[in-house]
Symmetry: none
Subunit: 500 residues, 2 copies
């Protein structure tokens, strides 16, 4: 037993506890907090964030970690301890670059920002949110400055969500992806559209919720170690592998929205519930990155949840619950409807073929905001211009446009690209899964999802954040993040549906 390592572990536990306590406060803030609690909640999060920062940047921790470097060399490099020292050292180096004052200001500004964003979105009035977003952009720009020199001003922001990833890498991937994906959407647009009116009849919300629970349970969600609530913007958060919270939302006339949001968030939750309990209360008890996290949610939502075998199993149940809406709709028609490709305004509701275009738009705007080539006040117009360029449509108001996502209000500039990267990783993993479990689709059609979950647990979930995303993807698939498998997947699936 290495004494320094034990000391480090106790210190990291304290830091993790402060982080997890903030996560509980954040969950409550989005799910149950009354509006009057906003100011106090901002103070609480600022105080916890500051204390966490002080502990995460203490000289003692730094010296201990430095002293552990030779010991780490003697360990199996894949062991928990070696990885813990590596990741903790990386995090320490990052954290010590940022001032405590910045951390406090950021927590306060984003807490108020989220409340104001909600109000702005409700009233479709960007001006309510604008001054808060200005402060947020300025703070994120200051954040990047802490990490000078960088290859790109956006690199430090991206690194918060996708450790080790560079802006240039993402841009290179997106540049290979964009023309193919735009081309596919155009080709689909020239074909006869599929019918989906029956998805927009009135569906009882109670029955939607019950069906969602059945699906999440079948996917393997452990209700003793988690729960599901309702929030404006569905999300997943974890306070350890034993307490994983998802949220969803319901709209009577959008039955698919609740179903796929539930499957998506359950995909995230399965990842968190599957992290090895050995890693609890350490910084390794987390997803490897946002993209890897998103690869899990998107695999379940799209590759599994919008597949024919999945609905071979679930459709009879759904049809029975909603016989007046779906009684006369056959499986194939339903399958085509939930895979309808159509340029639309809302990212989270968009189809697989257009989704990444929403992401690229956001990343480009974020880079322009941070660089200062775009002013916050001009953001709604810039948004609408790019929507027209990429998807050929312009939102009629800012609720359907620039105000739709929560991320910027929470200061999460640098987050969006991870969604598209997650889509790419999901397809890379899927190609490996199909080789490893040749009858996986026939398992799905009989309601068997354990095979997939076990594979994901063994190859991805259990490791938590032990491996950085590119390393993990390469270990499992033999390649770093690559757009080709996703393009192959899209072309095969939509080629069949739209007869291309």
């Amino acid at each position: 037993m290495n004494e320094k390592l034990e000391d480090v572990k106790v210190r990291l536990q304290e830091i993790m506890d402060l982080y997890l306590a903030s996560a509980v406060l954040g969950w409550d803030q989005q799910v149950y907090m009354p509006p009057g609690g906003a100011e106090s909640r901002g103070n609480l999060l600022a105080t916890l964030g500051k204390l966490q920062h002080v502990k995460a940047t203490s000289d003692e921790l730094g010296k201990l970690l430095e002293g552990l470097a030779p010991y780490a060399e003697t360990l199996d490099p894949d062991s928990d301890d070696a990885r813990l020292i590596k990741i903790a050292t990386r995090d320490y180096k990052k954290a010590t670059k940022v001032t405590t004052e910045w951390v406090g200001a950021f927590a306060e500004v984003t807490t108020i920002g989220e409340v104001k964003w909600e109000e702005a979105k409700e009233k479709a009035d960007f001006k309510i949110f604008q001054p808060h977003l200005e402060k947020i952009v300025e703070l994120r720009r200051q954040y990047s400055d802490f990490f000078k020199p960088y290859d790109h001003l956006y690199d430090p922001l991206l690194d918060d969500f996708e450790p080790g990833m560079k802006t240039a890498e993402v841009q290179s991937i997106f540049n290979r992806l964009r023309p193919k994906q735009v081309g596919l959407v155009k080709a689909i647009g020239a074909r006869p559209q599929v019918e989906d009116d029956f998805l927009h009849l009135e569906y009882s919300i109670d029955a939607q919720r019950e069906f969602g629970t059945v699906v999440a349970t079948k996917m393997g969600f452990d209700w003793k170690r988690g729960r599901q609530d309702i929030s404006v913007h569905p999300f997943t958060t974890a306070f350890g592998p034993g307490d994983v919270r998802t949220t969803t939302h319901f709209h009577a006339d959008q039955v698919a929205s609740a179903i796929f949001s539930t499957i998506h968030e359950t995909g995230h939750a399965l990842y968190e519930q599957g992290i090895s309990p050995r890693l609890a209360r350490t910084p390794l008890c987390n997803g490897a990155s946002m993209a890897v996290h998103e690869s899990q949610s998107r695999m379940w939502e799209n590759i599994v949840g919008r597949s024919l075998p999945f609905w071979k199993y679930f459709y009879p149940d759904l049809q029975k619950r909603f016989s007046s809406q779906l009684g006369n709709v056959d499986l194939k028609t339903f399958y085509r409807a939930i895979n309808k490709v159509e340029p639309s305004f809302i990212r989270t509701e968009s189809d697989e073929a257009t989704y990444n275009l929403h992401i690229m738009l956001r990343m480009e705007l974020e880079i322009a905001l941070i660089e200062g080539s775009l002013q916050v006040k001009d953001l709604p117009a810039a948004w609408n211009d790019r929507m027209k360029d990429y998807l050929g449509i312009i939102p009629s108001n800012d609720r359907l446009g620039v105000l739709q996502d929560v991320h910027w209000s929470g200061g999460m500039i640098g987050y969006f690209p991870t969604y598209a990267l997650g889509n790419l990783v999901s397809a890379q993993l899927w190609e490996v899964v199909r080789k490893a479990i040749p009858d996986i689709e026939s398992q799905f059609s009989q309601g068997g999802f354990d095979g997939l979950l076990e594979w994901l647990r063994a190859n991805i979930h259990q490791h938590g954040a032990k491996f950085e995303p590119q390393e993990l993807v390469k270990r499992v698939t033999g390649s770093t993040i690559d757009p080709q498998p996703y393009l192959r997947y899209l072309e095969a699936k939509y080629g069949e549906i739209y007869g291309l």
Copy 2:
């Protein structure tokens, strides 16, 4: 602006933020946390508690407060700043008398104690809990020793919940109260009993909840600054005046239980919502004491909520919602039923006339345990003996007796007396209210509760913890805590109901 005072305020804010963050975690733990979250939640609360203790006992804070004493002399003694310095100095002195070793041992013993108490209660087997309660009693005795010299060994325990109050004072009050209250219960027992079967028919839980919301809203609960959820044991907690949470519980065959638990907790919540926002994030942003807090919940629950004028207004609505259960029950019969007096085993379900006897029994046993004149192993027998003396009934098992309350397992020896004191204070305040607002009951019968709330806000709520309980009660009523008004109230009310 005094610089030392500003420094103190910033330090107190940080301490309060840690306390309030723990309160949010505690709320979630009791209301929504899945079972798998228990271990992690224990860690989070322990870490926040430790950090709070370190900050609350820091030498720097002590020196600053000491240095502020001369400045405080120059202030209006009733000003926020003078009171803040006074209360913060008191809290600092208390916190620094206790050793860190004791704090650690107490946390450990009570954490195990609560688990063992739950098991013991479920199995109605006191022996499971006995060795843990022995340790808890020993630790609480050691706690008192930190505060030597004291007038009474029980004084430091009581002081944790009722600042400034002495055991001798409480004993003197209870000695005047006990014989009168025992006599009243006996006299009632000799009269024909009132009918209340109709309160135990089946009542829809949704409809109960809707009615509770109507009542809480009418009482003045501000839903923008609070919410109500469900938990096994109803409670109220506040994260500042802008975010006050209550819980209630529902039983289909106990409609009165949900109604009065909602009114009771709303009474607590109105106190917290009414504290001046000037006091937010300071130790003054709290109730004056547990007794003063209980005076608010019990006034609303009993003096207001079980009064005829209250139900003159609300009964037609309740009757309409539950026409099959209450359609043939007239107002007077309903009023008598909700005020039925009957010796019973469970404190929380007992009526106004017997409630204080449950409390006196507990306080006497606590004092005997702490003094060592009663051994923990003899506690169940001592409990049952006193139940027979005071209420004429003996519980058939320890779940209905000595194991019913959570308090001792959490180390809260010294808490119980505050419940009875709260009842007494509620009646003292009520006598003043009736003089100040002569038509208050006619206001109630027309659904007007603003007059009472405004009076409470002006005289009690806004001050938070600025005044110690005896001082506050004397300022408002002209007397310290006195049992006579409560006895007058009981005798008038039950004399009429039972025709004494």
